[in-house]
Amino acid sequence: AQTVTQSQPEMSVQEAETVTLSCTYDTSENNYYLFWYKQPPSRQMILVIRQEAYKQQNATENRFSVNFQKAAKSFSLKISDSQLGDTAMYFCAFMNVWGAQKLVFGQGTRLTINP
């Protein structure tokens, strides 16, 4: 079974700084999807960014980018020019391309952006 590990329970940075959240995963599959979800205090699950494993190019969405290292099974999220609204829990998630395509989540990283 696939597992996702986020080794940083909490992180804190100053507004406008850059922060990187770590995620590693374990799978024997060659093709799959990886995601970062943001969960603010409202507990809504918001998709931040998505990476398809067969694509070598790292995904970017405005201030959010990933560093996808397939061989190392690592999928980190970089937030540039952090803003107060980025304060949230961040979950890394894995999804197979076959089967029911359920999401397998990591334990989450609580990110606080300080003014």
Binding site: Y33, S42, R43, Q44, M45, L47, R50, F91, A93, V97, G99, A100, Q101, K102, L103, V104, F105, G106, Q107, G108
Partner: protein, 113 residues
């Protein structure tokens, strides 16, 4: 952007009671899911539903749980006899097709007393 709608936002029940959590997925979506999140913990998969049947379920989804899509628009999760440990946020999610973006509802917080 279209939304997945969940009702109620918060439900309180007594242990041993039956509860039904309701979801209205986005209208052209075909794949439906329930996830749960115990406070302070990660989000866990419960069940997936496609073509009017369960396609996969987790160990959490035991005989006390059932899902139904009774009328082609609603997607419900029923817990037959609630336990204290069922207290959690329950998220419904849906997507149009395989590999497409998964849309989450805003969740139902279930409190079992």
């Amino acid at each position: 952007e279209p939304e997945v709608t969940q009702t109620p936002s918060h439900q309180v029940t007594q242990m041993g009671q039956e509860v039904i959590l309701r979801c209205v997925p986005i209208s052209n979506h075909l794949y439906f899911y329930w996830y749960r999140q115990i406070l302070g913990q990660k989000v866990e998969f419960l069940v997936s539903f496609y073509n009017n049947e369960i396609s996969e379920k987790s160990e959490i989804f035991d005989d006390q749980f059932s899902v139904e899509r009774p009328d082609g628009s609603n997607f419900t999760l029923k817990i037959r006899s609630t336990k204290l440990e069922d207290s959690a946020m329950y998220f419904c999610a849906s997507r149009t097709g395989r590999g497409e973006k998964l849309f989450f509802g805003s969740g139902t917080q279930l409190s079992v007393l």
